[in-house]
Amino acid sequence: MSWTRKIMRVNLTEGSISEEPLNMEWADQYIGQRGLATRYFVEETDPKCDPLGPDNKLIFATGPLTGTMASTGGRYSVITKGPLTGAIACSNSGGFIGAELKSAGWDMVICEGRSPSPVMLHIVDDKVELLPADDLWGKSVWDTDKLIHQKLNDPQIRIAAIGRSAEAGCLYAAVINDLHRAAGRSGVGTVMASKNLKAMAVRGTLGVGNVKDPKRFMQVTAEQKQVLAENAVTGQGLPAMGTQVLMNVINEIGALPTNNMREVQFKDANKISAEAMAEPRESDGKPNLTTNAACFGCTIACGRISTIDKGHFTVENKPEYWGNSGGLEYEAAWALGADTGVGDLDALTYANFVCNEDGFDPISFGATVAAAMELFEEGVVTAEQTDGMELRFGSAEALAWCAEKVASGEGFGADLGLGSKRLCEKYGRPELSMTVKGQEFPAYDPRGVQGMGLTYATSNRGACHLRSYTVASEVLGIPEKTDPLSVDGKAGLVKAFQDATAAVDSTGLCVFTTFAWSLDNIAPQVDAACEGGWTAEKLLEAGERIWNLERDYIQRAGLTGADDNLPKRLLKDAAKTGPAEGKVAGLDVMLPEYYQIRGWTSDGQLTDETRSKFGLPA
């Protein structure tokens, strides 16, 4: 039962708010959060709608385990049609606001239309109102957070907001909650800005109480927390080093994309790694990393809390950046660092702070800067466009400058805000964009981790590592070791990961638990909380249903099998160093096999048979 069974519909055009019962039939098929919100989204929006027009909708959705004591049960997702990809955008975030929303009594908030002027949504349990936010427009996420806390007179209130980048039209703007957690990818923040919705402030005091079998739930969640604690990755690696534990590992296996993916190894990887973050700085004797931190209910606590050296050139005259804030996760450290060739840890941390402060995705940003640097080296972008800033690989100054420009959307920042694909197209060199479906790659080179090539190519939201993290198997041996350099069996592996992940993303739990948990560990927790007889098989089936639903929607939106592709660089230019030397991404082998396993046509189309098998809308 752990759904509140209540959704909120906010019509921003009219400024009206209504309440509806949750469709429990759908909940039984799509679980919650990612899956269930997608089902609502597919039902209610035209796949051809303009992502930044009033016909697009923006859904904030929790899962049935969000707000409960299940470890990591604090997740929510933002579902919309993304402006970067034109595909379904579904960004997942931790922090605390998801649980707060659930505790206020809501499974989901559906925002539709467009407000005539800036507003914020204020939720205190069942008291919901739209407040004018003209005074917040033009403010960063951090300032917005501070002003709302003051205005609403309540330190406990949780806030999700967009920053200046979203307002300026950056296509990969994020929704930032709790100051430094992000529904980061695909431009969900840009959609929020297009609706003139500046922020959502939530205070929930009702709690999550309708757990089906409380006694069994407490027992089984306690047991599963123990599993996390005893696992080397979730019990030791992630708490101590964060996702940054991967930096040196991925570099060593020759899968760390460097300088806009021209290389697969970064000479300064060790300077921007987890180990480097823990090392006391020469200048002030303090390490970059202050402590680890958890999201709501998380017993792993992989989050990083960091400071920048006060004397570092990025912040020396800016005391507002001297305190602690969310530090580098692996993907951000890679995008801001390796992909741009910058080995200055504090400069990366600064850029990361700015990404959070003004709300944009550090992966897409870093990768776009990398593309811009290549354009600059090629002489296509010149100092004329960049106010004289030399966009050279390895330049920390350039990185910091780019971050500030994207934050404000001024000058060349507007170009950078287009994302890598549109930037490279604008300057006539589309082949330099390292994207799939318009979204930038994350931190694993498909030449060194073959499964990730298929992952990127087939992800329903554009290049993304979180849709099927085969790195777990290919590098870490979870659940079993596969050869990262081989394409054998990767189609099946990717499908299995995609389906399982779609299920996990719909429960309210964090996908990082799957380093230690399989669906066999998750199912009893869902089942103790929710009616419906949840088994691992039922979860997996729901995951596959969700995957197909997403795929169906993006095909109706106009994407085809031809978009399941990788940039030429990865398909033609072999890795130059490391264990993957001489390798290219073997997508041509994996993709047909994948379509076949999925039961799709050879050009990647869903069939009516598949639709009816999963009960998808015709």
């Binding site: 409960t68 505790s103 929930g204 005091t205 999550v208 209910g297 017993t299 989050g303 602690n324």
Partner: protein, 226 residues
């Protein structure tokens, strides 16, 4: 060294502890207390100095219940990750829902400092809440040492909420009663749920309550002349 205290109130012991004992060699200290100390008032204080000999004016070793069994919540903010498992466990135990807003333990986040501080009632010996209650609705549980709110007696006047200088007694507008930590009757769920041992339930001797006591004298309304 021999110190005589007459008469002896909890505050005597605490002030003595803070100002004298900490700077002295414990093995040569004796406290003479002149009356059968009321456990309600004194057990925590006495407990915190239990490594010293306590003798009354008849020269007998002072007995105060089963104080060796008393345990306290020990909080180590350095280990806290801010996950709020404790708040959920607390609210689930006491309210039947996962609801940090109704938790008796609270994590305070110091964003700029990168620090998380769990905070709850330390069942202080001074028990301002207990003394302030006009209708005897707060009583000490002799098994656990916890100051417990008796819901059936509490009228909801909120005097204890302003009297507690630690801010750990809160008014629950829904029920019209006050709520505070009661150590879950001796099995505190916050400690059980904490994944990092930032909150543990240990012998009172081992806790960091002294920190709190170090300043508490300032909040006391009485000082003892001799």
């Amino acid at each position: 060294m021999r110190l005589a205290l007459f008469p002896c109130l909890p505050a005597d012991l605490r002030i003595l502890y803070n100002r004298v004992f900490q700077s002295s060699k414990p093995e040569c200290l004796f406290v003479i207390i002149s009356f059968d100390t009321h456990a309600n008032l004194c057990h925590n204080t006495l407990h915190s100095i239990s490594k010293f000999d306590l003798i009354n004016d008849q020269g007998l070793v002072h007995q105060i219940g089963d104080k060796q069994m008393l345990r306290s919540l020990n909080i180590n903010p350095d280990k806290c990750t801010g996950c709020l498992q404790c708040e959920m466990a607390c609210s689930f135990e006491n309210e039947g829902v996962f609801n940090p807003a109704k938790s008796r333990i609270k994590i305070f986040t110091f964003h700029e400092e990168g620090r998380f501080v769990p905070y709850t009632c330390t069942q202080c010996d001074e028990a301002w809440c207990l003394h302030a209650c006009p209708v005897e609705a707060i009583k000490m549980n002799r098994e656990t040492g916890a100051m417990e709110v008796l819901d059936s007696v509490c009228v909801g006047c909120k005097v204890c909420t302003i009297a507690c200088p630690f801010g750990t007694v809160n008014y629950n507008q829904t029920t019209g009663k006050v709520i505070k930590c009661d150590l879950c009757g001796g099995d505190p769920q916050c400690a059980a749920a904490c994944p990092t041992e930032a909150i543990t339930y240990v012998d009172a001797d081992a806790t960091g309550l002294e920190k709190m006591r170090a300043w508490a004298a300032k909040t006391d309304n009485q000082a003892h002349v001799n």
